[in-house]
């Protein structure tokens, strides 16, 4: 048994230091599943959608669901169908949540197109700004993730996201969203939705690498982002975006 006797001063110091240990324990850490040789600081991931190529097959949604076990009724990625009638009236819908297929439509159409949507992994994301506990984070490689061991499930990020990309997962009771398949991209693979897209409408790549497919597309083509007036600086870039799309 130690002969050490605690002085009052030492005891006070110890008590004062104890909460800081609690802080260390509770500080959220990024979700990982990273490969050991993966260096996050060397990458800066982005995403592009060539809307002229999307055929609305729904493969991306099915792949996302299978890869990430997304709860029924919610979407980490989805495809919107826009249909502008001869009268100029625009109708929008998404695939059925169960079958992930679109309803058959009738009537005359002046133009129609599909718009894939997902989390925009914004540079100035509102969701990470408003998260009260710091459970929503930016990884050094430009991905917005949620630490579901730390999230309190308040839903503030769901309200703050201008793109409707977040939801409260009914199973984990925490915020759910697209992770860009972080467990895959850190192993050098593409996100499941990109890998399964049959037409190459979804493009994923490293914005840090000027020779990446994504960087080349952005350099050589005209593109837009969704709701630029929000000031969120999305990193999901759209080619051929119609003015009807919000």
């Amino acid at each position: 048994m130690s002969d050490k006797r605690w002085t009052r001063r030492e005891l006070v110091k110890l008590l004062a230091a104890a909460p800081s240990l609690l802080l260390i324990r509770c500080v959220p850490s990024p979700q990982s599943g990273e490969a050991s040789d993966y260096k996050a600081s060397e990458h800066y991931w982005g995403y592009a959608v060539d809307t002229t190529r999307c055929i609305g097959c729904g493969n991306c949604m099915r792949a996302c669901r299978a890869e990430n076990d997304v709860s029924a009724g919610f979407y980490r990625t989805w495809v919107e169908r826009y249909r502008v009638g001869l009268d100029g009236e625009t109708q929008v819908d998404v695939a059925d949540p169960e079958t992930l297929a679109f309803e058959e439509l009738s009537g005359e159409v002046s133009k129609a197109f599909f718009i894939p949507k997902l989390c925009n992994h914004c540079e100035k994301s509102v969701c990470t700004q408003v998260c009260p506990v710091g459970a929503s984070i930016h990884t050094p490689d430009g991905v917005v993730l949620v630490d579901d061991k730390h999230c309190i499930g308040c839903g503030y990020c769901v309200q703050a996201c201008p793109y409707g990309s977040r939801f409260i997962d009914p199973h984990t009771h925490t915020a759910g969203k697209c992770t860009l398949c972080y467990h895959r991209i850190t192993k050098g693979e593409e996100p499941a939705c990109v890998a399964m897209c049959p037409t190459g409408a979804r493009i994923f790549g490293d914005l840090n690498d000027p020779r990446s497919k994504l960087s080349t597309i952005l350099r050589q083509n005209r593109y837009r982002v969704l709701r630029p007036e929000m000031g969120t600086h999305p990193k999901c870039y759209y080619q051929g975006l119609d003015r009807e799309v919000v």
Binding site: V92, V126, P132, V133, G134, I152, G153, Q159, A160
Partner: protein
């Protein structure tokens, strides 16, 4: 055909998040009434000053309960204080709430020290509770009373900006969300403060009348008429600010107004236009105007004031509903609306909400058993033997 983003099919913030700003509003409003007496020397309000302060404290105790019921992980609630993300408006909640709770607690402790000490000197459970509350320090003389008075006044003064901060902050939580055009306005901060004061005064009038009627007390005429005038003034400001916000949006005719107009015209027509404005604002405005400006017999004036207060309480509750739920009915696609009907027996349903709202009144009753909340109340009508016995036991003095 309308379109909502697929993750918006369910409303995330339920009736619990309607109840939360409603309860914090009652806190802020009730506290301001007590401060009008303690700081600004409005002696007309003496009859309800103690009740206002204690009810602010009790409602404050219950304010986080709807939030805890709503949270996906209530067991992690303290993360908000342990690992706060200071870029989030919500991160301030824990600190603002704790500071305000401490302040109100201290103010009650100092302002009611004499009462507690008087009861602590007796025997039995109540005396023991009072001794514990007083930390076994029962010393009292003129100098301690003077010190208590000064400290109470200081705390009441400090509490006014804190009360505004607490509730204005709740408004800011909504107003700062740029993604939602129904919420995103700097006026939200101010609207919430004024509507809080309205609801606080209204609940005090409502409860004062009910308790006086049950106990057979004479209502303090000057106090009630003064409160009615304050209520009238504050409701005019609160409603004008809300109308100003809508008029401004309508006049600017921005792209967002198209969808907001549909929200107001269709989804919120009954709760917003008909109930909140036409019935629960206009009628109380007229009632309080008549009660304040026309010489009426007490009985008629009281009927008008009590009815108007009750209607304004409902008006503020509906305002919270129209803000919290209304904002979520509108899809961020700006192309359509979703629906929400609260469940009855659900965890976040109407029964749980009613229980949470009723609990503070139970605690107020228990507090009243120890220290009377309306110390100057005077009995005017004969009551049953049982009520008389209660009065003798110290409830009705």
């Amino acid at each position: 055909m309308t379109f909502v983003f697929p993750n918006e099919a369910n409303v995330t913030w339920t009736v619990m998040i309607v109840l939360y700003p409603f309860i914090t509003g009652l806190v802020a409003g009730a506290f301001i009434v007590s401060s009008l007496f303690h700081v600004f020397g409005k002696s007309n309000l003496k009859a309800v000053a103690r009740y206002s302060l204690v009810s602010a404290f009790v409602f404050l105790l219950f304010a986080p309960l709807p939030l805890l019921v709503h949270l996906g992980h209530p067991e992690r609630a303290f993360n908000i204080m342990i690992t706060p993300n200071f870029s989030s408006a919500m991160a301030g909640f824990g600190y603002i709430y704790a500071a305000y709770l401490l302040l109100v607690l201290l103010e009650i402790w100092f302002s009611l020290r004499s009462e507690f000490i008087a009861r602590a000197k007796g025997r039995g459970l109540t005396a023991w509770i009072c001794r514990v509350i007083m930390l076994y320090n029962l010393d009292e003389d003129e100098s301690t009373k003077r010190a208590d008075f000064k400290i109470t006044r200081f705390l009441a003064g400090l509490g006014i900006p804190l009360a505004c901060l607490l509730h204005g902050y709740v408004g800011f939580l909504f107003g700062a969300l740029k993604a939602n055009p129904w919420w995103s306005t700097p006026l939200m901060f101010v609207i919430f403060i004024f509507s809080a004061i309205v609801s606080g005064i209204a609940v005090i009038i409502f409860h004062y009348f009910v308790v006086s009627w049950i106990n057979g007390w004479r209502v303090d005429q000057v106090c009630v008429r003064t409160l009615a005038k304050y209520l009238w003034g504050f409701m005019i400001v609160a409603v004008s600010l809300e109308l100003l916000e809508i008029l401004s949006l309508a006049y600017k005719q921005t792209e967002e107004w198209e969808v907001l107009r549909t929200l107001i015209d269709q989804k919120l027509f009954f709760t917003y236009i008909v109930l909140q404005f036409l019935i629960l604002s206009l009628i109380p405005f007229l009632m309080l105007g008549v009660a304040s400006l026309v010489k009426l017999k007490d009985r008629l004036a009281y009927a008008l004031i009590w009815t108007a207060s009750t209607m304004l309480l409902l008006q503020v509750l509906l305002m919270r509903w129209n803000v919290v739920i209304g904002g979520q009915l509108l899809s961020k696609s700006l192309r359509g609306f979703t629906n929400y009907l609260p469940g009855i027996w659900d965890r976040e349903g109407l029964i749980v909400a009613a229980i949470i709202f009723t609990l503070p009144f139970g605690i107020l009753y228990v507090f009243h058993r120890i220290i009377p909340l309306f110390p100057g109340a005077v009995k005017v009508r004969a009551r049953t033997n049982r009520q008389a016995a209660d009065t003798t036991a110290g409830i009705g003095n």
